[in-house]
Amino acid sequence: MSTRLDVKKTYKLYIGGKFPRSESGRYLAAKSAAGVHLDNFAHASRKDFRDAVTAARAAVNGWSKATAYNRGQILYRAAEMLQNRAGELVNEIARSTGIRAAAARREVTLAIDRLVHFAGWTDKYQQIFGSVNPVATSHFDFTTPEPTGVVVVLAPDEPSLLALVSLVAPVILSGNTAIVVSSEKFPLPAATFAEILATSDLPGGVVNLLTGKRAELIPHIASHLDVNAIVDGVDDAELSAKLQAGTAINLKRYARRSLAPADWFTVKVENPYWILDTVEFKTAWHPIGV
């Protein structure tokens, strides 16, 4: 009787639309909740982070100039792709965390619906949060939200897919680009999700994914001068303090989203005010007169 050998997957980073290994050559072993070795994944370094920022910065111009309609279509496409490959993500989550398949399926289903939900915000939040202002002089005066630029997003350990999707979508829907630091304990679902983004017509560099150790990357995230904002979903007060301390250096915008794992499953996460944390309001004036 001959048995067939499985072809094992190598999990890599996602930077600039490509899947490189860490420039440091390091790797980590992903283990299940029970301590069983699953697969190896890339251990991102400071330089990987700097490369990711470069890629994200390069992508801002094109992505922010895409029409809101187009950005919405791409997010919807990501939902299509995730729906189509739901089984794969269910498997990744279940074998990593040890939760039952039904619970993993619930997480993936919610992640799909969350992408659909945020896809629908791209061409609407401007109408709700922008304004034409009735100034007391003869001027046409309007205020409109614009993306802030490059945003670092830190995902919590659990839920490893749903929290990441819920944090990234409101950031990129307005035209920002993102560097995502995945769950540290369960990175494999995030790495697979990056493949789904890569096949959703999302331009390279709009989302970049780093797997590895948060504590190692945080000082460099905090001190990087070309990062415009940090969205902190990590449920660790000490790490958050370090991140926030670094924002003063170039006045990065900082938003903390510290939720219990179960909270990510609730509808309160579908919050358009999260979009506002990474936009800037521009006000413009023009005289009215003949």
Partner: protein
């Protein structure tokens, strides 16, 4: 005095050609654009034979195609060839009643209770299928209505998909749309749409109605039923629950039956001001909500400091797009006196370059007039213009022997009291008037019972905002014309109707906000 349709006349201009080296020399001011045969294009027909049209179409009620109670059908033709395309079901009051009952059941048992998130996903599915079938729908729209494929393919159909996409995203976000309010659906919406943008008007009506939780009974114009029926097939493919949208094809009385049905909560109508007024009368005392999108006689104002060549393109697009079958068409040109000769000369030359012919040819700019009564109305009104003293300038383009055609035309020497300055022609006919001051332009622009749209052409930003603020029109285009987007509300002032479609404000028409 009968104007020959193909004769080009310029009022009061005599050519004074001299001779140089034995050759006649036309003074620079008088030279006409003449490309000879350099602008003869080879035919470029869009492929259409793969799209099969069934010989007979039925009504769409409760998720299925069903025969009309009367058993009667009427022919629908291709206005470019006068050939019969298919037979359409003649729906009557009994069919309308079945449809309203189906819509009410669907509203109460399924759609009105469904979470917005799921309603949105149906609309997204529909949008995606429309995108897949865009070419087929564009070809059918061109064949059924006479519209050039360039427009159905590049304007109508992309906007149709975009409307479903935009409204799909609102379905689970309505709580944010109106501060302090929790919007609720109205119930069953009765909708009647016209023949000038058949599928686009269907999208403008159906998408917001469904997004806000209502169900629909909708009637297309009798000359353009095909694409809405094809959309009904798309609803089936998207597994839209039975009864959420019902299509009752038919004639004027069919529409009246919808408006008068006691179990319809909301009426939406796009069409002529005359019929709109009749419908407004019909709903008095019934408690039904109503929105109307009616006719227009938009002023397109061009100032001396306008970018002239861009403005000419905008004026041309404003009146000849879709053969002028556009409620918001820029059908009155108000030209500041100083540039009048230049503008008229450029317009005259430009209309001569517009290609009129087979709507399925990708080079065609001007397609067929949608139906014979409309063609006769256009002819009658242009004749009235000539009779009342205006000069008629028309393209010399050849007209095909079969089908309903009218060449691009403009009239100069029009005064405000002429019929061609007051009545909506709804054809490729532009009435040209002059003005001196901005104040006069605004006064002339506002001097009709209509108030749907207007255009302003000037390079000076402050002038744009001033004029925009003074024009009594629901949509004002500055240095552009005929731009539409699902995020941008559209609707009229005064007798052009009330209510807005599209955008944040457009959701109000389909919601209870109390």
């Amino acid at each position: 005095m009968k104007t020959k349709p193909n004769a080009l006349k310029i009022a009061g201009r005599k050519s004074r050609a001299g001779l140089q080296n034995g050759h006649p020399v036309v003074p620079l001011r008088e030279r006409r654009l003449n490309f000879g045969d350099k602008w003869d294009y080879a035919p470029a027909p869009e492929e259409s034979k793969n799209y099969l049209i069934a010989p007979r179409h039925e009504l769409f009620i409760n998720g299925k195609f069903v025969k009309p109670q009367s058993g009667k059908h009427f022919p629908s033709i291709n206005p470019a060839t006068e050939e019969k395309l298919t037979e359409i079901a003649h729906g009557d009051a009994a069919d309308v009643d079945k449809a309203v009952k189906a819509a009410r059941r669907a509203y109460e048992k399924v759609w009105g209770k469904m979470p917005g998130r799921e309603r949105g996903k149906y609309l997204y599915r529909i949008a995606r299928i429309i995108q897949e079938k865009m070419r087929e729908l564009a070809v059918l729209e061109s064949m059924d209505g006479g519209k050039p494929i360039k427009e159905t393919r590049d304007v109508d159909l992309p906007l149709v998909a975009a409307h479903f996409f935009y409204h799909a995203g609102w379905a689970d976000k309505l709580n944010y749309a109106f501060p302090g309010r929790t919007p609720r659906p109205l119930g069953v919406a009765g909708q009647i749409i016209p023949w000038n943008f058949p599928l686009l008007m269907a999208a403008w009506k159906i998408a917001p109605a469904l997004c806000c939780g209502n169900t629909v009974v909708i009637k297309p114009s009798k000359t353009t039923s095909l694409t809405l029926l094809r959309l009904a097939q798309i609803f089936q493919e998207a597994e839209l629950p039975d009864g959420v949208v019902n299509v009752i094809t038919g004639v004027g009385e069919t529409g009246t039956a919808i408006v008068q049905h006691p179990d319809v909560n909301k009426i939406a109508f796009t069409g002529s001001t005359d019929v709109g007024k009749q419908l407004a009368q019909m709903v008095v005392g019934t408690g039904k909500r109503i929105t109307l999108e009616l006719g227009g006689k938009a002023a397109n104002i061009i100032f001396e400091d306008a970018p002239i060549d861009q403005a000419i393109e905008g004026i041309i697009a404003g009146i000849y797009f879709n053969m002028g079958h556009v409620c918001c068409a820029g059908s009155r040109l108000l030209v500041q006196e100083g540039i009048f000769p230049t503008v008229v000369r450029k317009l005259r030359d430009r209309i001569q370059t517009l290609r009129l012919g087979n709507p399925l040819d990708k080079n065609t700019d001007i397609g067929a007039i949608n139906n014979k009564p409309q063609l006769e109305k256009i002819r009658e009104l242009v004749q009235s213009g000539a009779d009342e003293g205006a000069e008629v300038v028309q393209s010399r383009c050849p007209l095909p022997a079969r089908g309903y055609w009218y060449p691009p035309t403009f009239l100069t020497g029009v005064t405000a009291s002429h019929r061609v300055a007051q009545e909506e022609i709804f054809g490729p006919v532009l009435s040209v008037m002059t003005f001196r001051t901005p104040e006069e332009a605004v006064e002339r622009a506002n001097n009709t019972p209509y108030g749907l749209s207007a255009g302003v052409w000037t390079d000076k930003g402050s002038k744009i905002f001033k004029i925009v603020s003074q024009l009594r029109a629901g949509v004002v285009w500055a240095n552009t014309y005929n731009k539409f987007d699902p995020t941008s509300p559209f609707g009229g002032y005064k007798e052009s109707g009330f209510g807005r479609e599209g955008g944040l404000q457009g959701l109000a028409a389909y919601s209870r906000l109390d």
